[in-house]
Amino acid sequence: MAFKQITSPHAHASQNTSKVMQLVVWATVPGLIALTYHFGWGSLINVVLATATAVIAEAAVLQLRGRSIAFYLRDYSAVLTAVLLGLALPPLAPWWVVVVGTLFSIVIAKQLYGGLGYNPFNPAMVGYVILLISFPIQMTTWITPLALLPDGVSHPGIIESLSIVFAGLNPADGVTGATPLDSFKFSDGLLVDQIYAQNPLFSQAGFAGVGWEWVNVGFLIGGLILLGSKIFTWHGPVAMLGAIAVMSILFWDGGSSDSPGSALMHLFSGASMMGAFFIMTDPVSSAASNRGRLIYGALIGVLVYLIRAWGNYPDAVAFAVLLANFAAPFIDNYTLPRTYGHIDRRRATEKEEDQ
């Protein structure tokens, strides 16, 4: 009798990469619901449009590279990149913003580097940063949260939203406005208490900023689901959020007009939670070991805070993540775990002669 020759181990856990990607996509749903509730249909349109673009672009490049389209599309990595980019873009952004950003993410940042597993930078964040630098006006036009819309004004319906996105219709007055991080940054000369009293984004908020706080809570919930499913370890997100908290406590000067804001505001504003659980946890472009991910996460947290507090941009997750991507291989060299039977951890750059 003849049998197949197959290398051990023979048993295999039921987890696979496609399932991991799909689970991450599903885990963005609480955040997406919060975005849609507070800011209208725009985010959903972004996500759908980005996904369609990403799948077509991925298939086209795979075709050019002579790879199996079905096999690689089934890993859902292109879908995930598109969903994350769609969520990060301002709702009701023009369609070409979404398409250009997605093409950049998939074609340049991912496939030209060799496809899934070989990209040194987070593809969604590369697309986002390219857009932010190229189209600052479109990228900084945000929608007013539901609770703060003027009387008689509502978020555009689905048809109207589509016309705004695809036909360039202008949204009604009062529908667009600043984000909490924006407002805070550009409220110079006001004490923190005054900002909180005067600006409805804060005065009507529960604990951070109207609408945004719930979007962050949504991503936090999704992130905790992923953490519970052991898709990633706690090290990266905790380090990043911890670093943001520590930085904002360190530089919280009691609420002067120069204060960069409270820890609670920083943790639950902008892309903090989405960044901590969905962006910086992209394993391909992050540090490899748990210790490395602690350093990597803390670096992102510190950079996010530095740019928010003293940089030119109100939010900074994309820049911080990309800068940390640069540092990841370096971090990896010095954060090897201590192996069984060894007295000390080693350096990845160690040569045989050094021992």
């Binding site: 049998f3 020759q5 290398t7 051990s8 181990p9 295999h12 990595s77 090897l336 069984y340 080693r346």
Partner: protein
């Protein structure tokens, strides 16, 4: 009892209940048994029987070759029908020398008995018995037990660990053996302790998924000093390094052996074999092997003769070949696939797994590594498998070594959890092989370079020496010339200043050679002297015999007679040599 927790590890479905519903069974005697000469780590055994010879059960058919080797014994009585290369149970499916025995159906033992009063036997006696019984570690590696149990005086053993972990899914060989043979196992542990000089700490490490086995052991270890340590089930807790850490909290330094930190770890099946060898005088010719998997109708443990073909086992277990996705020797994590079922059960075979396609489907094609790090979370020795994979693909040997590739125990936990189905362990095996090849290559090239350099140096030295000699001669000649010029008068009076003509020199040399040689006359005198001596000795011996003839025994007379004979022979020889010499001299004179 306190236990420690290793990092990483996985929890694959245990699948142990299937093979535990029936007690340990025996198979009908196979018609032919095939005993590979190498079933262990170390040198292959050397056959000591010929084809056609009849052997009895338990008879030695191959000797151990050198100290790290084990002998092989006939697992049943019958006739040796072949000694040749056959496919063996090896992951490569390679051929290796084997001895084939055709059973005579009588299963007749040779005469055997254990060591009487073994409790008072010396460790060396016991060790020899263990070595003679052909016992090699039965947990999987197959290291000769007598070598392991003899770590030497400079490494005293304070802890003996008996490995009953059996952490691989499906396998229940140790579990069932403990349930049914606990008393003999404890006796075996006692013998081990005696061999090792009674270590202060004796532990049986067992996972908590074997409550029946634990219950069987516990009453027997009361008042014996042996402790049963159970700990939470997790794969791979049964690796030697892992178990030692779990039970003692100590790590074996990388590259060292447990004995280096005063510990010895022995599989529990081996302790049973040692008991049978010492107390019953039985060599290792059978072992408990689990037959399991959904492609077999019968899942149970068999007390299997070493050399039983796997096909024989399958045939008696309602095996369905069509349903079988692969045939594995060992467990689903570290076992290797068999390409043929003709290969025999060997001393290390703890399990034959014949899974269905539902249980273990064909492998999915590998996807890209996304560095998710699940492998690093699963690694029991804290490696970074994703980085090792990366560098393995790039064949970056320096990085692989810096990432401690050689500390990988190939447990397969990383591949098990890998969501991209990457056969990580296979990559590591490949890289280990490549690095070892490169190391061997380096040693060879270093050696060659050293040899070349030495050769160069030698040639240079020789040239230098020659040059120096030449220079010395030149100088001597010049000095002589100078002298000659300085004393022209003496030169005129004595002719050539160098001491005479060429003819003179040759004559002088001949004279020297002649002086060294013995003249024929002298030679003849020498021979004559030796004849005289020999005659004297014959005479003395005869006198002795004459004086002794009355009072001496026959034996003494015989000795004296022999002496006379010897002396006479010598005399004859001396005379012959003299005659020869004289003849030669005469011949030369004729010439």
């Amino acid at each position: 009892m306190k236990t420690w927790v290793t990092p990483g590890g996985v929890h694959p479905p245990e699948n142990k209940h299937q093979s535990l519903t029936l007690p340990i069974g025996t198979l009908p005697l196979p018609e032919k048994l095939l005993i590979p000469l190498s079933q262990h780590i170390g040198a292959a055994a050397t056959p000591c029987i010929e084809v056609g010879k009849k052997v009895l059960k338990g008879q030695v058919i191959a000797h151990a070759t050198g100290p790290v080797s084990v002998p092989m014994h006939a697992p049943t009585s019958g006739t040796i029908t072949a000694i040749e290369h056959r496919p063996i149970a090896h992951s490569s499916g390679m051929l290796a020398p084997c001895i084939e025995i055709t059973s005579d159906g009588r299963d007749k033992w040779k005469k055997h008995e254990g060591i009487a009063d073994y409790e008072h036997a010396s460790p060396s006696t016991l060790l020899k018995a263990v070595a003679d019984a052909g016992i090699a570690g039965m947990g999987g590696a197959g290291f000769p037990s007598a070598v392991k149990l003899n770590p030497g005086r400079q490494r005293p053993i304070h802890t003996l660990i008996v490995n009953a972990t059996e952490c691989e899914p499906y396998i229940t060989a140790d579990d069932s053996a403990i349930r049914e043979r606990a008393a003999e196992i404890i006796e075996g542990i006692g013998i081990l302790s005696q061999i090792l000089g009674n270590p202060s700490n004796i532990l049986i490490g067992i996972e908590d998924n074997k409550p029946e086995a634990i219950a069987a052991l516990e009453p027997l270890v009361l008042d014996t000093g042996i402790r049963v340590a159970s700990f939470p089930t997790k794969y791979p807790s049964g690796g030697e390094k892992q178990l030692i850490y779990i039970l003692t909290g100590k790590e074996i330094p990388s590259g060292d052996l447990p004995a280096d930190i005063g510990m010895v770890c022995v599989n529990i099946g081996t302790t049973y074999a040692i008991k049978r060898a010492i107390v019953n005088g039985e060599p290792l010719i059978s072992r408990v092997t689990t037959m399991t998997g959904d492609a077999c109708g019968i899942n149970r443990n068999y007390d299997t003769l070493i050399g039983t073909p796997v096909s024989h086992m399958l045939a008696h277990s309602e095996f369905n070949e069509q349903a079988c996705s692969r045939l594995v020797m060992g467990g689903p994590m570290m076992g290797f696939s068999l390409t043929s079922s003709d290969v025999p059960i060997v001393k290390t075979t703890n399990c034959i797994l014949a899974p269905s396609y539902d249980e273990i489907p064909d492998d999915e094609p590998a996807q890209a590594c996304i560095r998710c790090g699940m492998c690093a979370e699963a690694c029991p020795v804290s490696l970074l498998p994703q980085q090792l994979f990366w560098y393995s693909q790039a064949d970056d040997q320096e990085r692989l070594e810096a990432h401690n590739l050689f500390d990988c125990i190939e447990c397969g936990a990383c591949s098990y959890v890998c969501p991209s189905n990457i056969p990580l362990v296979q990559h590591y095996r490949h890289s280990k092989g490549e690095i070892q090849k490169a190391r061997a290559e380096k040693i060879r090239s270093d050696h060659a370079r050293e040899r070349f350099e030495f050769h160069q140096q030698r040639i240079e030295q020789a040239d230098k020496d020659k040059e120096a000699k030449r220079a010395a001669r030149r100088e001597a000649a010049e000095q002589a010339k100078a002298k000659a010029k300085a004393a022209p008068d003496s030169a005129a009076a004595g002719g050539n200043p160098m001491g005479g003509s060429a003819a003179d020199i040759i004559a002088a040399a001949q004279a020297r050679a002649a002086a060294k040689q013995v003249s024929p006359e002298q030679q003849q005198a020498k021979f004559e002297r030796s004849i005289a001596g020999a005659e004297m000795r014959v005479q003395m011996a005869e006198e002795k015999l004459a004086t002794a003839s009355d009072s001496s025994t026959d034996e003494q007379k015989n000795i004296l007679n022999a002496a006379i004979e010897g002396a006479k022979q010598k005399l004859e020889q001396a005379k012959a040599r003299l005659a020869e010499h004289v003849e030669q001299q005469n011949g030369e004179q004729v010439d």
